[in-house]
């Protein structure tokens, strides 16, 4: 697909300044390369003129003396040879220096972005889809890469060429130069006009393409419904309507978009012919030498090239500004509040956790948790229950300090977590979530993720306890086998077991678990439950509970509804209250009388 130019930076000046500022440490090399680019541009301007002079001196020496005086021609040829060599060297240096600088620059940019990711509050990523951030890292950095490695130099070269050619043409013949100047803006004007119309179709094309995309996505994922309702013909007709529209917009956009080149070419040719006729007559009248026409024509064609690139350059600049805005706005996002200095730590952890009048909201507007207080004894099991979407992970977010309460505080063994370093708080908890995140790497490295110093024997103990030691050993490379989140050599249940083993290797004083085990077969589920039990034994633990046995044996049940903690207590007291918990519990086996 051709580059789209519909993206505009919201604040071009700011975007430009930010981009410029980020280049500061490379200033010297960039300026040097651009000087090289300008120098080679200027030098190459001499070539047509010297070539023309060669012809002129040959023609005049033959006309005057009847034979050819080769000396001045030889000198000119040597001059040219030297100029060509210098141009080549300058171009190489410019290319290489810029490419090198760009590589260093983008490396730094990517590092800044990935560092930024680790410093942004989790709330940012709960709001902004991952794709956006990835696109900044991939596409936008790429656009800046392009601008720096080619764009700048291209602009400089084009500018020198346009100005230089104009000067040279005027030196050769002001009259012919005027003709050229009249013809050329015509072509620029025509190109701009057409580019604008093409733009309209490109935008339409993109819109229809988006429409078609959603059609396809919807129909492919709803294929069984289309099939079982015999809706194929009608669905196809809908698809075809968008497809037909795409055809029209696509060919028009492509056609108009491809016109710039032949158009400029046409105007060049018109200029070319006019110069031939006019210049020919001027040679006859003795106002011009034949070699000068030869040179003039070369200048004319060089003059035109950058002009046909003009719309492309404008598009590149717009893309660059838009990309730079996204990159530098991202890098300027507010980071997580810094850890307190000096910070407190918990020594000889017992695992007593207390919520003190905690209030929390995700958007600072709609309070979700209101004045929640609870005291959890060391080693107690806390079950968090509630229907799907009730916000059970909010508690985890607060405990792990992924989010901080709006008011109130949480203490661990009496120390407020807000007065501790985040990393110190998190080190106290092990976490096994429903989302079985594993990074692509060896089984061993994944299991050691929570404690890099773990010995293989310790890892084995953990895999044995979770019952996946056989599976790992049956893999081709054993503990060195490569796995990843989407690797299909292990099942979802086995991935879950690996994350449990990972938490066991870490061996933290407290645990946070999510019992939900979707997409797991019955036998793996039993293993996971057993492993969970081993993991929570003797540790203060928070479990997002789905199983009745867990809930019934919990020391404290937090009942959640619509984000809020509506009830707390143990199973028996909650049942007696006959509130939401009782309703929830009974719904597992409702209307026994029916």
């Amino acid at each position: 697909m051709p580059k789209m130019t519909t993206e505009h930076a919201k604040d071009s000046k700011k975007a430009f300044r930010a981009f410029f500022k980020s280049l500061k440490s490379f200033r010297f090399v960039i300026i040097l390369s651009l000087v090289f680019a300008a120098a080679s541009g200027v030098l190459s301007l001499f070539s047509p003129s010297i070539l023309g002079n060669m012809t002129n001196s040959a023609v005049s020496s033959i006309a005057e003396t009847g034979h050819l005086d080769f000396e001045p021609i030889k000198i000119a040829a040597i001059q040219l040879g030297v100029i060509y060599a210098i141009i080549a060297i300058l171009t190489y240096l410019e290319n290489y220096l810029l490419a090198r600088t760009t590589l260093f620059y983008t490396e730094r940019l990517r590092t800044e972005i990935i560092t930024k990711i680790s410093k942004l509050p989790i709330s940012y990523f709960d709001k902004v889809p991952f794709g956006d951030t990835l696109s900044i890292l991939n596409n936008d950095v790429d656009v800046l890469w392009n601008a720096l490695s080619e764009g700048f130099a291209q602009i400089i070269t084009n500018l020198t060429t346009i100005i230089g050619c104009l000067v040279m043409m005027f030196i050769i013949s002001p009259l012919l130069a005027l003709v050229a100047i009249v013809v050329v803006p015509l072509s620029t004007f025509a190109v701009a006009k057409i580019a604008k119309r093409a733009q309209k179709h490109f935008v339409a094309q993109r819109k229809v393409l988006g429409e078609l995309n959603s059609h396809v996505e919807e129909d492919y994922s709803g294929q069984i419904i289309i099939k079982s309702n015999s809706h194929e013909q009608k669905s196809f007709a809908n698809f075809q309507a968008a497809n037909e529209k795409l055809y029209t917009d696509s060919w028009k956009a492509q056609f108009l978009g491809s016109l710039a080149f032949p158009l400029v070419h046409m105007f060049t040719n018109i200029g070319y012919v006019a110069i031939c006729i006019l210049g020919g007559n001027m040679v006859l009248s003795g106002a011009l030498l034949i070699g000068s026409i030869q040179a003039f024509i070369q200048y004319l064609s060089r003059f035109n090239q950058p002009l046909s690139n003009l719309s492309e350059i404008v598009a590149t600049v717009q893309l660059t500004l838009a990309a730079s805005e996204r990159v530098f706005n991202f890098l300027a996002l507010p980071e997580e509040a810094p850890d307190p200095e000096p910070s407190k730590t918990v020594k000889n952890i017992k695992g007593a956790i207390e919520f003190h009048d905690v209030c929390f909201s995700y958007d600072k507007k709609n309070p979700i948790i209101k004045h929640f207080s609870a005291k959890i004894e060391p080693g107690a099991q806390v079950a968090i229950v509630g229907p799907t979407g009730a916000g059970k992970t909010t508690i985890i977010n607060l405990l792990m300090r992924f989010y901080d309460p709006d008011s109130g505080y949480i203490t661990i063994d009496g120390v407020p977590t807000s007065e501790m370093k985040r990393s110190d708080v998190r080190a106290l908890f092990g976490m096994v979530l429903q989302d079985t995140w594993l990074f692509s790497g060896s089984v061993k490295d994944n299991l050691k993720y929570g404690r890099k110093s773990a010995k293989l024997s310790e890892i084995r103990t953990a895999t044995k306890a979770t019952g996946i030691d056989h599976l790992i050993e049956s893999m081709k490379d054993g503990y060195n086998a490569t796995i990843s989140e989407d690797s299909d050599n292990i099942s979802a249940g086995e991935k879950q077991l690996l994350t449990i083993a990972r938490a066991m290797v870490e061996n933290p004083p407290m645990m946070i678990l999510d019992e939900a085990t979707s997409n797991v077969d019955t036998r793996a589920e039993q293993k996971i439950q057993d492993a969970f039990e081993k993991l929570t034994r003797g540790r203060t633990s928070f479990v997002i509970a789905h199983r009745l046995s867990t809930i019934r044996s919990a020391d404290l049940i937090l009942v959640m509804k619509d984000g809020n903690i509506v009830e707390q207590g143990n199973h028996d007291t909650l049942l007696k209250q006959n509130g939401f918990y009782a309703e929830l519990y009974n719904s597992q086996f409702a209307d026994t009388e029916a």
Partner: protein, 581 residues
């Protein structure tokens, strides 16, 4: 790529016109330098003003005509390219819809979507490039060589030397850089992978305090990328200056030789000017060709991905018309059915036999992976049985025409699937009964009426793409309404009630009763409460039927059923249940 060329066939006459206009453009463009030489040699040298004007005008006409030809060529290439991709896309779409569920699973929906849009777009660009550049470059190159030879045969070697140099250096530079390019691409993928992992594992990484570790990992790959990039750039930076040297060198050579011959033949003056331009055309053409050899193979990958889908032979063959006479009374019968996924060794289902009668509910229960969803998706032939046969209304499903079988079935999937459009059209998706009464009644039975009536535009309210503007439960109720509106003989509910809360579940089943009094109802469920009143409950475990009967019978004699019940109720209630049984 070549296989896809058949899509050009309907536009063959446009292709012919395109080739003709490119030929014309090439021919006319190549005449210009010759005419220029004529002006110099015959006009200027002899001092003939009229000749200059006449030839000049001729040049102007040629130039305009050449531009017109180029315009026509672009017109056709744009149209052919767009038409090509439209036709290919339409075929591809129909192909995908004709695939069976297991075939679609093989490719994954996401990948099929990319193939329909991106890959076909890539191929379209390639076709357009072929139709213009790939056609023009050789014509222009060969034509220019011919013209150059005509102008001055003894200077043609300069062009040959230039072409030789271009090919030589391209091979060396690309030969050295290409392997590194592949490494570079892999490193880019690696960097993206690590970044993606950093985002998807945000919480885990922070929980394990591994931010610094991840940054180090990323930094390592990032630096590796820069190092590889440096090697490539050191080579690629050579390309521009070398090409410049070749172009300039050839020009200088031509001027040098021509000037040397001016003494003996004055016509070398005009010839020189023409020859330089021919040389430029030849070198440019070769340059474009080398470029195309790098670009086009990429489109080939896309073409391969498209063909991969197009060449799939559907495993399920439907009869054109139903062969045999289905019974008037609906029924579904499984006779010793076994099923295995393609390529899998073990059967997912084995030895499944049962009869589901009209006016009765047959329910399936079992743990995850017991095969209950697979079982009922065999009835609409989403998958093909490996052994045994399934009879619908007494007739083997393999003897039905597709639409004849489907019109008997109202299928409600696990997850509510809706299509963008108004609510009404979603409900009427599978039926010919387009009456508003039907819409309202179906919504009422499916317990969807309440929330629809609350919407401002009621039944004309818009459903966003994939139904993202309605909740999961609402989606599910609309899905059920869609099945009811069809008045099917056989209802299939694939765990369709779990997204509903208890009360709605109960109400819905009560409202559904009179609707289904003459129909077969097959229902997969997780909650005992949903199915305990069913006339027939089939308990599945690891693909086999381990119990068949009513709730109370199964409580007495099916171990697996008892376990399921036990896991869902308290001990006291369980004891009560057992006593009642």
């Amino acid at each position: 790529m070549l296989k896809l060329f058949r899509y050009l066939k309907p536009y063959w006459w446009q292709v012919v016109l395109l080739i003709l206009s490119i030929g014309g453009q090439t021919y006319l463009t190549l005449q210009l330098p010759a005419l220029m030489a004529d002006i110099v040699n015959q006009g200027i040298v002899t001092g003939d003003q009229n000749y200059i004007l006449a030839t000049g005008l001729k040049m102007l006409i040629f130039a305009l005509a050449a531009s017109l030809c180029a315009l026509i060529a672009h017109f056709f290439s744009s149209r052919i390219g767009a038409a090509f991709s439209r036709d290919l896309r339409a075929d591809f779409y129909q192909k995908v819809l004709s695939l069976s569920v297991s075939e679609i699973d093989n490719f994954s929906t996401a990948s099929l979507i990319t193939r329909t849009t991106n890959d076909i777009g890539q191929v379209q660009q390639a076709i357009m490039m072929m139709l213009t550049m790939l056609l023009r470059a050789p014509m222009m190159g060969l034509g220019a060589i011919f013209q150059a030879y005509q102008t001055a045969p003894d200077m043609t070697w300069t062009i040959a030397a230039g072409v030789g140099a271009i090919i030589f250096f391209s091979i060396i530079i690309l030969g050295l850089a290409m392997p590194k390019f592949k490494i570079y691409q892999k490193l880019i993928d690696k960097i993206t992978l690590i970044a993606r992992e950093n985002l998807t594992g945000l919480r885990v990484i922070r929980a394990f305090n591994n931010e610094a570790h991840e940054q180090q990992k990323f930094g390592h790959a990032n630096h590796e990328l820069t190092k590889t990039g440096l090697f490539i750039d050191r080579l690629m930076a050579l390309q521009d200056p070398l090409l410049g040297l070749i172009f300039n060198g050839v020009t200088l050579g031509i001027v040098w030789i021509s000037i040397g011959r001016l003494e003996s033949d004055a016509s070398y003056l005009g010839d020189m000017i023409a020859f330089v331009q021919y040389a430029t055309h030849v070198l440019m053409s070769f340059l474009i060709l080398t470029m195309l050899f790098i670009i086009l193979p990429r489109a080939n990958v896309s073409a391969g991905r498209i063909n991969e889908v197009m060449k799939v032979k559907p495993k399920i063959h439907w009869k054109d018309t139903t062969e045999g006479n289905p019974d008037k009374t609906p029924s579904v019968e499984f006779k010793n059915v076994a099923f295995a996924y393609a390529g899998a060794e073990a059967n997912v289902l084995e030895n499944i036999s049962f009869i589901a009668k009209a006016g009765e509910t047959t329910a399936f229960i079992g743990s995850t992976g017991s095969g209950k969803s697979t079982l009922i998706s065999l009835v609409p032939r989403f998958y093909e049985t490996t052994e045994g046969e399934i009879l619908v209304d007494g007739l083997n499903i393999k003897d039905y025409a597709k639409d004849d079988l489907m019109k008997r079935i109202g299928y409600v999937p696990q997850r509510g699937i809706l299509f963008s459009g108004v609510i009404k059209n979603n409900i009427l998706f599978g039926t010919d009964d387009l009456d508003d009464k039907n819409v309202k009644k179906s919504a009422r039975v499916a317990q969807a009426e309440n929330f629809i009536e609350k919407l401002e535009e009621k039944y004309n309210a818009h459903i966003a793409e994939k139904g993202t503007n309605v909740s999961g439960g609402q989606k599910q109720r609309l899905s059920i309404a869609r099945a009811i509106a069809k008045h099917p003989e056989i209802y299939i509910f694939d765990d369709s009630f779990s997204a509903l809360d208890m009360k709605t579940d109960k109400k819905l089943r009560e409202a559904l009763k009179p609707e289904t009094k003459d129909s077969v109802v097959l229902i997969v469920a997780q909650r005992i409460s949903t199915i305990k009143d069913a006339e027939q409950i089939i308990v599945l475990d690891q693909g086999k039927i381990v119990g068949k009967g009513k709730h109370k019978e199964l409580l007495k004699n099916c171990k697996e059923y008892r376990e399921i019940v036990k896991s869902q109720v308290s001990e006291q209630e369980f004891a009560k249940e057992l006593k009642n049984a």
